[in-house]
Symmetry: C2
Subunit: 194 residues, 2 copies
């Protein structure tokens, strides 16, 4: 049992590494087995199709993201700082975040044409919007926060993440991303003060 | 010469159709030849690699997008309406736009790991940001528009486009997208009025 669990984790780590370094085309049973240091049979035992491998990796990245976020949020001292920490994490400002952004962009691309992946992707973003709305309400209790506020801030941070993953240039540095998050939040915060 | 040009266009149309309906994995020389109704040799004569096929399709989609945008903008009567038309077009609110969004998401995903595609993608978004900055300056001449304003609005519209392409749910309807564009532009417009 421990052996199979370890092998499963190694396989998913291999998928994430291949996705983030060589892209979706390179995710084949053979490449994943070689990268994970297991047999082709071991990969096929755990994941019967490429879609299953991608969904497994998607789930692993999301679990890792949520755990990182949970640790981050519990260390912040105010509701506004928790909101900022969340926005910065979704915008993928760190090196780990940037790897996640590459992997998420691959998932988003597959979600456009694969219904199984789309269902998971859509559910994830729906619940992310809900969670962001709660963070906004806690940070700006008098601002009359709506779901659209959350959707706007999520679109900004998602747009930043895709730019960082796909361009990897000076157009969207971490510093600029922080300024854009500030600019997106300022008008919402101002409503609570008037 | 006309025959070769026609065949090249048919091949690129086939790549775009396959990308938007079956995804990047399905773009193979064999599938493209079958979809375009040409021989495998004809595809290989025009495009020697999968990357060349993808870059060809990317260029074709961008040419089509710019032409659609040019026609749209020349029909709008005010600078603010031209700005809105641009934002709505980048947000992929129409059916044609949604097909483009699917294809763009595939390009963005490939740009994360393929330097040749990334260079084109990054140059495109850099010039799109510059163009958007000019539209913002024309619409709100007294607002002290900066490059960050353009980057913020572009992040919003790009985030909307990815959500529409990858989720295809009620979370990001065309109506909601228009409200979010309004919300992103309102604080910038207000600066010009104070």
């Amino acid at each position: 049992m421990t052996v199979r669990r370890g092998s499963r984790d190694a396989i998913l780590d291999a998928v994430i590494f291949i996705l983030s370094s060589r892209g979706s085309d390179a995710v084949t049973i053979r490449n994943v087995a070689a990268e994970a240091g297991v047999s082709v049979g071991a990969v096929q035992h755990n994941f019967t199709t490429k879609e299953a491998l991608i969904i497994g990796a998607m789930t692993a990245v999301n679990v890792r993201f949520r755990e990182r976020l949970r640790l981050l949020l519990q260390n912040e001292e105010s509701a506004e700082r928790r909101l900022r920490a969340f926005c910065e994490e979704v915008s993928c400002l760190t090196e780990t975040g940037l790897t996640d952004a590459v992997v998420w962009t691959a998932f988003a691309a597959r979600a456009t044409t694969e219904p199984g992946i789309r269902a998971i992707h859509a559910a994830d973003w729906g619940s992310t919007e809900d969670f962001l709305q709660q963070l906004l309400e806690a940070a700006y209790p008098d601002a009359g926060i709506t779901a659209d506020d959350a959707a706007l801030v999520l679109a900004v941070t998602d747009g930043i993440a895709v730019a960082r993953a796909a361009e990897k240039t000076d157009r969207m540095t971490a510093e600029r991303a922080v300024r854009l998050i500030d600019a997106a939040l300022a008008p919402i915060a101002a409503r609570g003060r008037s």
